[in-house]
Symmetry: C2
Subunit: 525 residues, 2 copies
Amino acid sequence: MENNINGAGALIQTLADCGVELCLANPGTSEMHLVQALDGVPEIRSVLALFEGVCTGAADGFARMTGRPAATLLHLGPGLANGIANLHNARRANSPMINIIGNHPEFHVGFDAPLTSDIETLARNYSSWIKSCSTSQTLAQDGADAYTATLRQTIESQGQIATLIMGADAAWGDSTGPVTPNGLPERGKVDETTIAKIGDLLGQGGKNVLLLEHHAIGTEALAAAGRIAGKTGCRLLTGTFPARIDGGPGRVAVERLPYFPEQVLASLDGTENLILVGGQIPASFFAYQGIPGQLIPDDCSVHRLSRVEENATDALNRVAERLGAGTELVKHFEKSPIERPQGELSNRSIVQSLAATLPDDVIVATDSGGGNAAYGLCQNAATNSWLSLTGGAIGQGGPCAAGAALACPDRRVLAMLGDGGSAYTNQCLWTQARESLDVTTVIFANGTYNILNVEYAKLGVTEVGEVAASLFDIGNPDINWVDIAKGYGVPGAIANTAEELCGLLDQSYETPGPFLIQAHGELQR
Amino acid sequence: MENNINGAGALIQTLADCGVELCLANPGTSEMHLVQALDGVPEIRSVLALFEGVCTGAADGFARMTGRPAATLLHLGPGLANGIANLHNARRANSPMINIIGNHPEFHVGFDAPLTSDIETLARNYSSWIKSCSTSQTLAQDGADAYTATLRQTIESQGQIATLIMGADAAWGDSTGPVTPNGLPERGKVDETTIAKIGDLLGQGGKNVLLLEHHAIGTEALAAAGRIAGKTGCRLLTGTFPARIDGGPGRVAVERLPYFPEQVLASLDGTENLILVGGQIPASFFAYQGIPGQLIPDDCSVHRLSRVEENATDALNRVAERLGAGTELVKHFEKSPIERPQGELSNRSIVQSLAATLPDDVIVATDSGGGNAAYGLCQNAATNSWLSLTGGAIGQGGPCAAGAALACPDRRVLAMLGDGGSAYTNQCLWTQARESLDVTTVIFANGTYNILNVEYAKLGVTEVGEVAASLFDIGNPDINWVDIAKGYGVPGAIANTAEELCGLLDQSYETPGPFLIQAHGELQR
């Protein structure tokens, strides 16, 4: 078969045929043939980022909003390494994603050129699928297989990460052309015995908790869980940092577990049956001396309706049917009037300003820091899709917001970020400016890694020495986020009062494109 | 033995006793006991960075200037991952470094808390020594062993990277206290047969090249190589991107190999004997279709005087003695008057401005992009220590400059950086401001990953499509580096003419603390 296509061309066309729409790229010399291939496949939108953590965080945000994998294009081991922190978060979010990592051809690796390193060991940290021995003839099929590996079932928007480490000779060598996409596997169904057991357990009433995680908090799954809760009086809980939950007035009410282990145990206190749907027994985020790591009250029995790889929506629907649970008793979040605060900024007034101005249908991206405190109040304010920092690797919120905006150009994205995490991946602002993304970023600028002050106090240290204090303090000098945003082409302003903050938020929601607000006040420090 | 010290305290005191003076930190909850320990050991200076790539890049710069390892303190797998790109560069620079990575206690790992990941596989990418099973009782000894592992011989300023992955329980548990530092191994000596063989080969004259790499371009080694070259007429060459070379007027003249494989082959054309001292046969930075990867001319014989782990200084001195090579014929770089350029900025006038204003005893840190072009002219301008991007992982120059300034507070550091690489690790500016480091940063702001334009043209593509062009273009929007620097507390200015650039450089050299100059002109684009 005579054919002029090379491996890179066949790979990119195959990925487009599979349904890949977006490639977040920071290419280098070893990826030149892939750039050439992207140039010829307009079905895939290519978006440049100035740092690979922005590529991977944005691909995560895209996946959370669409349920489909974006591709990333990264440059050998160091390019991949820069993306790993947000790949860690994406793995914890069960986000589907395909990473294409350029590499030297195998015949060049032995010469130990400067960029040579062991890429496959890096990829093991977060990948569910890795291939590093493609030839130009296998590359298209390897791409199709990578796509399949990322998705358990398209509709459930929960998947995993595939990494294709590709020698430049596989890209430049001859190919017989694109291949046909594979069929996609279906999620396994929960067996009838388990449905009956859990249904009967819930039917007996008592202090029961349905702990819904991963795709078990998808819209359809949550509707079923809401019916079960209405019928049986069980509590609906999700984990501390869900990848995505669609909430706000009119949506099924779910509580999030708190952060600290003592708080989690207090929240679950008195629970008779903890029923896991898609997730695992709550664990302390960190280990502490003398505090348990697995967080289940004494006398609480743990049961499982479904594992992460099983179809939770189907399982919850079947339990609801077995219980004869209708929609009439479902508890929804309710709309409450939220007054616009006045005067100096504090964490409380920042949160209230955000809730009071929140536009309907907003996507909220959070990171470590302030945004998490806004969750509760915002559920009574406006319909929203809420994205959290799933893996604790800070610097995810801004890139994730960019990816969500690329996925949903008709929705406003609000990134509520701590200043510490924002510094990690500040380059996301440039991509937001270049692609004119409708992202409003609010920096909770308290000038400190505040959680570390709290954690240090938990050690029982009453006097914080000079060195320790300096390691928690990211003031001195204060970071001016408006200057940094301006440097990347994103307009912004500092809000010193609640009125200013509300005004700037209003203005940003009415104006297309990105905007950054530094929420800053004496009380913040 | 009654003792109140915990594992963290014993580790930090031991590292101080070994000679560690600097800890570049970005800690999290799992590292709180280490922060507490650092608070009690003032011999170690603790410096915070807003991003881990700054920690590892600065530790590399410190090592290049002192020959001793700094410690880094990083937060689990994601914190380490963010530092790996510059660890890759540090490995290629043979820089000694000790990474301390906090982790969950082993008993907590099984609960799969959000930050849990496979840290050891990440560390394999760049580490020569890894330990991940310390207890509070072994931690101090493990730290002493890590220190030893980083150094082959202190005086040679060439070493390797050790990574101590440390469960929080090893930090908080009881210890019997610090341990005595280990003795340090000596570098092996080259056998007399090799000395005689290489000496005799050189003594015969002919077109011979001494390729000096790693510690073979240290001051003492270079003095011996200079005597050999004076006596025998051989050429002195070093690799394309040496970790550190001390040059300028009065220092032994060495050529650097060029970048592209065709240029390397042209440079070596006609060479009869290529003698490797500390390094390897030159390899093409990337692989290209139809171009060889190992870059040796036909009919050139390859010999080796010393391997990287052997004592090159001793070997070169012995060869010089055997040849009876005195100091009278050594070729040095010579001082030439360099005129201050005028008018619009171009790459050429930027380089000339830098050379014309260069202060003696400067440390120059480069990355990808413009700074490399300045090397030649600067060798006739002022004495300098020149640090290059050893591993091709861009974003190293700014952090490396910070580390060099921490190592040498009496010397001005000049970072000559491309804009693409600077965006990767821009957070280094904040650490430069906080620590009042005497770093002058010049950004070669051409708004493009220019090397990729060159590489793309090498594919034979005559028309660059819209997508490809967008993936090489980091203008649109233009990055304003002065705004970004201001955001981090570093003053700066844009230079649009050569006169402005020279004036700003003069001003910065006279003013303590950091300063950033964006070298920007129409001709740059």
